[in-house]
Structures are given as C-alpha cells and as structure tokens.
C-alpha cells in the first residue's frame, strides 16, 4: 500500500472514532429544543447546581494546587527511595472505579473516622457538605495537575536553577522566579484539566453527597426520576457551560504562553 492509500485508511479509521465522540454530544444538543433549553436555564435548581459545581471545582483546584505543585516539583527534581511507589499512588485514583474512590473518601471523612470526628468538633460534617464534595472531586482529579506540573518542571533545565543560586537567589527565590514561571504553561494546563475533571465527577461525589446536588448528580437524579427527556436539557446546558469554561480557560492559558513566546522573539 502506498503512502497516500495508508493515509486514507488512517483518516477513515480516525474519522470513525472522532464521529463516535462527536455524535452523542451533538445528539444531546440536537434533541434539545430551544424552548427546553431556555426553560432549563431559568430553572433555579439547575443554575444553583451548576454554580455550586463550578465553585467547588474551582476552589478545590486552587486549594489543592498549593500542595500539588510542590509535590510535582519534588517528583521532577528529587530522587528518593519509594519514588516509583509514590508515582504509582498518584496515578491510582485515575485507574480505580470512581465509586470505589468515593467509598475510600467516605472511609476517610465519615462521621466515625478520625478526620470526620475532628471536623465535627468545629461543626463540619463532610458527608453531604461542599467540602466533602470537594475532597471527592480532588481525589480523582488532582493526579492530572500533579502529572502535568511535573512534566513542566522536568522541562525546566536544572542548569537555570543552579545559575539562579549562584546569582544570589535562595532556593525559594529560584523556585519562585525561575522554575514556576518556566513551568507555568504546564501548571495552568494541569489546573484546567483538574478543574474540568472535577466538574464532571459523578461516581465519587454521589457517594459522599447526594445533596447539595452537583450537576452530574442532578442529571442522574432527573434521569432516574423523570427520564431522558428531562435529564437531557440539563446535560445540554451543563455541557455548554463546561465547554465555554474550557474554551475560555484554554484561550487565557494560550494567551499567557503566547505572550511569553512573543517576548522571546
């Protein structure tokens, strides 16, 4: 088979996979009438749920970044005993069933657990609480941030950090002024991935909190209680919001990177 023939075969096979991804998503929008769509947008339960989902995922991403970025840096720069084990543990939440992840988190934060008891002394019950939902979202989404940030730090030449030290910077100064800005693109990309993954989490969240209802749970609830006809418009609105957020964040991230690249020319 010549090269153009092979390219054609690959294009057809790849096109089928692409169609498989696009068709169901397009179907949601095509089968939702404008009236249904706008009624759903005006539905206070839906808007409250979407706002809750967005805010928990955003807060969770920002909060966990405080620990995830330093961990990513350590994994990129240091060799230590058990490093491979740590890396495998970080990837674990991605590969286990998310319902199992929810059960694991529930074990950690339930009322009879150590953390649950400690939180209850200050009046917080993680189960059925946005904090619990945030923990469930973080459990399954933080690996995306860690891995992306780690790749970013690995791409920063160690030599630049050494140079910073010889030029009078402290190790924190070198991290803040050299490593972080140069790994910024990967870190932001990882944060977008974590945020997006948190938004879409259902399996782990539903075990921690049915109420307050994050949108994936609301879609499931509408489907279970009223059927596909009532679940689909919520899914369409949520998909559109997620898509918009994703696009806006990507544009902002690319703009930051582009500005940085342009400065280099």
């Amino acid at each position: 088979m010549n090269r153009s023939g092979l390219s054609l075969v690959f294009a057809v096979l790849g096109g089928l996979v692409l169609l498989f991804i696009i068709a169901p998503l397009a179907g949601i929008f095509l089968k939702t009438t404008p009236v249904q769509f706008f009624e759903t947008v005006r539905d206070k339960d839906v808007t409250a749920s979407i706002l809750l989902t967005l805010s928990i995922s955003l807060f969770t991403t920002l909060f966990f970044a405080i620990g995830a970025i330093p961990l990513a840096y350590l994994l990129a720069r240091k060799n230590f005993r058990g490093k491979n084990l740590v890396q495998s543990l970080i990837d674990l939440p991605i590969v286990i069933p998310h319902s199992a992840a929810g059960i694991a988190i529930l074990g950690l934060v339930s009322r009879d657990s150590f953390l649950g008891k400690a939180a209850s002394t200050v009046g917080i019950d993680f189960v059925g609480h946005p904090l619990g939902i945030g923990l469930a979202m973080a459990f399954v989404s933080v690996p995306f941030l860690i891995q992306s940030a780690r790749t970013g730090f690995e791409q920063v030449p160690v030599r630049l950090e050494k140079a910073a030290l010889t030029l009078g910077a402290s190790t924190w100064g070198s991290f803040k002024s050299i490593s972080m800005p140069l790994a910024k693109r990967s870190i932001i990309s990882g944060m977008i991935m974590m945020f997006s993954r948190g938004l879409s989490e259902f399996g782990a969240v539903v075990i921690i909190a049915y109420y307050p209802m994050v949108t994936p749970v609301l879609i499931w609830d509408r489907f279970n209680s009223f059927g596909l006809k009532y679940a689909r418009p919520v899914a369409a609105v949520f998909l559109l919001v997620c898509l918009l957020f994703f696009i806006v964040l990507r544009i902002l991230a690319n703009k930051t990177s582009h500005d940085q690249d342009r400065k280099h020319i």
Partner: protein, 355 residues
C-alpha cells in the same frame, strides 16, 4: 589571592583527586583538559554548587567552606550560559542585583555600567532567545560581572561560538582581565589557553597534573596527554644512550630506532619533540644536511589548515606537514614508501623527571 587546597570529590564513575593551586589577584588561569577530566566539576565546587568531600578554598586566607552558594564571592558563567529565557536582558542583569536587595535606582546604574562595558546597551530590552551567540555570551558575562565577583569562573565560554565571534569574545575576556578581573577559564582548546592565559593547569582524569606559567607549561609537555593539548604531533618517548657503532649519544625510541639530536646529556629518559613542519619527505634516499633519515610507509594524508598532514609509519607514527604543492610534486598517496628526513637541530628533548 585564591588558594585551592587538596580538593577531592568522589562520584560513582569519576573522582576529582587532591587538586591544589593558587591564583593571584588579576591572573588569568586556564584549566585545560579533555571532557570528563573534572575541570567543570572543579568550577562547580568553587562556585559552591557541589560540596567537595575534602579540601579547602581560601580567598585572602578566608575559608569559604561554610559560605553558602548565594554568598560566594565567585561568579560562574556556564557552558550553556543558562540565561533566563522568560526575562529580558535587562531583567537577567537585574536578577543578581535584586537578590542582594540593592535599591532600584542603584540597580539601574549598575546594569548600565556593566552593559556599557560589554557593549549590550542596545539589546537591554530584548529577550535572550532571539540573540546571537556572541550577544548571549556578552549577556551571560555581564550578568555575572554585575555581582562584582572576586573571581570569574568560565566553563568553556568559547566552545559554542563561530570563529569570528570567538575572536570578539576573546578580546572581551582579555579586556576584563586587563581591568584587573581574576579569571579561571576551563577549556579543551590549547590555542584558546595560549591566547588568554597567564597560567595554565592541565587536568587529566580528575587530577591537576601540571600548573604553571602559560608558556612554560605549553612548551614543556611532560606526557603524551599534555603534548596532545599543546598541538605537538610528534612526541616520541626516548632513552638516551651511546651508539656503540659511532660512539655518539643518541635518542633511542621504544622501537629501538636511533635519532640524532644536539645534547650534552649522556643518559636519561624523556621525550623528543619533532616539529612536523621540520619533517620533509623524498621518494629516494637523499644526501642532505639532515642527520635523521627514516624509511617508512605513508598511512594517511589529512587536509590541514596550511596544507596536508602526512602520517608515515617509520616504526612509530611520524607526522609531516606538507603544502598541497609538495604533495603534487611527490605524487604520494597512502601506501607509498617514502623517506622522512629531519635535522638534529630541529629536535627538542624534554627530560623526564624520574622519581
């Protein structure tokens, strides 16, 4: 005065062993060595990036052992320059000054002072990625000089530059040194060393095997390794002894080939330097004033800057430098037999100090 005493560092596949030398203020020291000889590691030890297993570094009798990297009075310019790509040239230069909590107005003054010295004022607002090799090198030097280091450490500063820019940066380095800047420069290029150094150190497998005034070190290589760094092609191990046939003291190679040279010594061991431009070739034995004439087979003919380098197997490899015209006239090619002649007065004997 910088004093380096018995610096040693052990790595899994390499050791730096007992390196000691002294540098007076304003000297230009070049450390010559192959890659892997330990010269770059030594610079990183001096800058504080690597902690030695043993040994001390003194600046004017002050031990620097416990001085942290950021407070070391030495400034290093890495081989790859390590310019910060996300900062402008101005901000690269400002980086070390901001780390020293210098007021902004003084930072601006200092940057313009070093930028003027290195002639980079027109590029201060540019980012480093788009700069030429020479401009980058100047920026890296300026950034380190902004810290006013007691000693400038340069790791192969000219190796990545083309010939024209190399000449330009050499002039910059010479000017800095003339201005009183003490410099330690590591390289594998002896011509670079010859054109810049006041003192030269030769490093081999983690050891400083020779250290002294530049010309003295380059003119008197004490081993084939050192000779290879000084551009000497014919560096022949010999033993001096009397030729029983004619009673003359001759230098006998390891292949027991006698070579005649001018000496007042009657015995000893050492090396004979035969300048390759002094070796001339002929197709037949010829009667000339040259005292040495050896028969051999040409093994290779390699183009060189000023003609061709011909390698002849006369029992040992002998190098001869010929012009293109000379090659044409003799019509020689690898495999041809030739006679190589050289005068006794052209040879230089280096006596080996036998301990």
């Amino acid at each position: 005065m910088i004093r380096i005493e018995n610096i040693s560092k052990q790595f899994t596949s390499f050791n730096l062993s007992q390196v000691s030398f002294e540098i007076s203020e304003g000297e230009y020291v070049v450390l010559l060595g192959d890659s892997g000889s330990g010269k770059s590691v030594l610079l990183e030890i001096l800058s504080g990036l690597i902690k030695p297993d043993q040994g001390n570094i003194y600046l004017n009798d002050n031990d620097l052992a416990n001085v942290p990297i950021r407070k070391r009075p030495f400034g290093i310019v890495f081989q790859d320059l390590a310019l910060f790509p996300h900062l402008t040239v101005y901000d690269n230069l400002a980086f070390p000054l901001k780390n020293r909590d210098i007021p902004n107005a003084d930072i601006n003054l200092k940057i313009h002072e070093v930028a003027e010295k290195l002639e980079i004022i027109p590029i201060l607002s540019r980012y480093t990625d788009g700069l030429s090799g020479g401009e980058k090198q100047r920026v890296a030097l300026a950034r380190t000089l902004a810290t006013e280091p007691a000693c400038l450490l340069l790791d192969e500063p000219l190796s990545a530059l083309d010939a024209r820019i190399r000449k330009e940066i050499k002039a910059v380095l010479r000017n800095l040194n003339r201005g009183g800047q003490t410099i330690i420069h590591v390289t594998h290029d002896y011509q670079e060393a010859l054109s810049l150094a006041t003192r030269i150190g030769i490093m081999e497998q983690g050891r400083l095997i020779r250290y002294g005034p530049a010309l003295e070190v380059l003119m008197n290589p004490m081993s084939p390794f050192m000779a290879s760094f000084t551009g000497i092609r014919n560096f022949i191990r010999v033993t001096l002894r009397k030729d029983l046939c004619d009673g003359r003291i001759k230098a006998w190679t390891e292949q027991n080939i006698p070579l005649i040279f001018q000496t007042d010594k009657i015995h000893g061991q050492g090396y004979l330097v035969v300048p390759e431009e002094s070796v001339f070739l002929s197709l037949e034995p010829v009667e000339t004033s040259a005292a040495n004439q050896l028969h051999g087979i040409i093994t290779d003919i390699i183009p060189a800057i000023h003609g061709f380098e011909v390698i002849i197997d006369v029992g040992f490899p002998l190098h001869s430098l010929l012009t293109a015209d000379g090659i044409d006239r003799l019509s020689i090619k690898p495999g041809d037999p030739v006679y190589a002649s050289f005068k006794a007065s052209a040879l230089r004997y280096i006596n080996l100090q036998v301990k």
